[in-house]
């Protein structure tokens, strides 16, 4: 029989330390839904999603109950809609409304893929889709949008960067009566992964199979509790404990992914090893860093601690899963992490420090509330900086900023649920306008002579 200590440890992780599976995401290719008119294409999209994902929620709930592990979200990601809209024409917003209708019918939490990949330039349909994002996100609740504006191989499309600065702002304005929630469903990527199960950036890449199951795990609370047991351990021991814990967490993700794929008769894609925080007290990446010995997240030393954490999570998780992919690393979404929110409120965590942290961990400047009157070109320049970090370091970076329309420093936005809420953070307001206005492309970086 399994060791009773191990059994109790597992139960303790789930009951007291917030271990959960964050999401089962079904990736669905819509390439065969293209048509000579948008209405037919939307019909085919709706039918295909409904057919493939019909049992997604029921299956997720069944697995959750049988294995005793909460599965928080069931999601769908689709082929970037810009591709489908380019082939089938029509107003892109009607595709968003189709995705919304399907997600409501299925009872899923989010659908991702209102996306365009423009790292080298705009193809037919891309610009039209990007310009429709504010309207699409205001008209829907479950649809998430993403735009890839840079990659290590292509460089940074600065025309797209400039455009996205304005789009983020317009999206916040379009949903100003709902806490600017639209901007929380829009992410701007460099090196976007094609198999990411996490929102808002999930889409189903063109190289993916027709339908696939990807799973995202969570578990910052478990890592923190494991570290609490070695208050005097040196950092080698800290890394080892994180690795062992990440291994256990990921094994559960692998089991759930395998079972979901088997029951839904869909190939298993990847497990995403990310440590994804939630606003629940204790389920915070910032608290892990503080457990390592920092007074507050954002203090000097934070980048080093985060680098250790991120690397150890990957090392532990990689062996636990047969296929690892997506974003895989520690997330630092400010509003979704109770410790980050506290650090931001106290003034210890600044956006500049967060930017440095993104060089060594997963994703990027995520879920950061900024003043509502931030000029578009400042938003664009933040995107450019973040994309440059991703481009040069051959990693994914992203920007998800929420301009709090009508609010300034000292005020807060509260989204509720998994998205949490947090204070408006101070930005450097010196103008980058002339730089952004130049447009063009920042060339792809040299991949040798790496210093």
């Amino acid at each position: 029989m399994i060791n009773s200590r191990d059994i109790l440890e597992t139960i303790h992780m789930i009951q007291d330390e917030n271990l959960d599976i964050r999401t089962i995401t079904m990736g669905i290719s819509l390439l065969d839904c293209c048509s000579d008119n948008a209405q037919t294409a939307c019909g085919k999209i709706y039918d295909k999603i409904m057919r493939l994902a019909e049992r997604l929620v029921i299956t997720g709930n069944e697995i959750g109950k049988e294995y005793g592990i909460p599965i928080i979200n069931k999601r769908v990601s689709v082929t970037p809609i810009a591709m489908i809209a380019a082939a089938s024409a029509g107003d892109p917003v009607q595709y968003a409304l189709t995705l919304e209708r399907a997600s409501k019918e299925l009872g899923i939490d989010f659908v991702g893929g209102y996306s365009a990949l423009v790292q080298k330039g705009f193809a037919a349909g891309d610009e039209k889709l990007i310009k429709s994002i504010p309207e699409a996100l205001a008209a829907t609740e479950h649809v998430c949008a993403s735009v890839n504006i840079a990659s290590t191989k292509t460089g940074i499309n600065m025309d797209a960067v400039a455009l996205m600065g304005g789009i983020i702002k317009q999206t916040a304005v379009a949903t100003a009566d709902k806490n600017c929630i639209g901007a929380a469903k829009l992410v701007v990527f460099c090196n976007a992964p094609e198999d990411n199960p996490f929102m808002a950036g999930a889409f189903h890449g063109a190289g993916e199979p027709d339908c696939v199951i990807n799973v995202g795990v969570s578990g910052p609370g478990v890592v923190r509790c494991a570290l609490q047991k070695i208050p005097d351990g040196d950092l080698t021991q800290v890394a080892d404990v994180i690795k062992r814990t990440a291994f256990k967490i990921t094994r559960v993700g692998q089991l759930v992914a395998y079972e979901a794929a088997r029951r839904l008769h869909v190939p298993f894609g990847i497990v995403d090893l990310s440590l994804a925080p939630t606003p629940a007290v204790g389920d915070s990446v910032a608290y892990i860093l503080e457990e390592m010995g920092l007074q507050t997240c954002g203090a000097h030393g934070t980048t080093a601690a985060l680098a250790l954490l991120n690397d150890a999570v990957k090392k532990g998780g990689t062996m636990a899963s047969s296929h690892v992919g997506g974003l895989s690393g520690a997330f630092i979404p400010v509003t979704e992490d109770a410790g980050m929110v506290a650090a931001a409120r106290s003034g210890c965590l600044s956006i500049e420090k967060l930017e440095a942290m993104t060089a060594v961990c997963s994703v990027g400047l995520d879920m950061i509330v900024v003043p509502g009157d931030t000029p578009d070109d400042v938003l664009a320049a933040i995107i450019a900086d973040e994309a440059a970090i991703g481009m040069v370091n051959y990693k994914t970076t992203a920007v998800r900023l929420i301009p709090a329309i009508g609010k300034g420093l000292g005020e807060e936005l509260d989204f509720g649920g998994l998205l949490g809420g947090g204070p408006v953070m101070r930005l450097n307001t010196a103008s980058p306008a002339a730089f952004i206005k130049r447009g063009g492309r920042i060339p792809a970086p040299l991949q040798s002579l790496r210093n």
Partner: protein, 89 residues
Amino acid sequence: MRAVVTVVGKDMVGILHKVSGICANNNVNIVEVSQSILQDMFCMIMLTDISKCDLPLTELADRMNALGEEQGLSIHLMHEDIFNSMHRI
């Protein structure tokens, strides 16, 4: 196919009887039981064979949870594979 039932809570008369009653009523065979009592806290781990169980596993888990709530105990039934996955390479 096997599942693990765990019961944690304040010790009281008849806990084992009630849990094994649910098992017997639904054709679930008890393979192994270990229990300990530490300072009034009862902790029981039961390995069960559910291959001939009359109920879907989800429903059996619901009944165990319901018994736990009724008795003020924490009772969970989980498929054995989650423990094997996590603790065995």
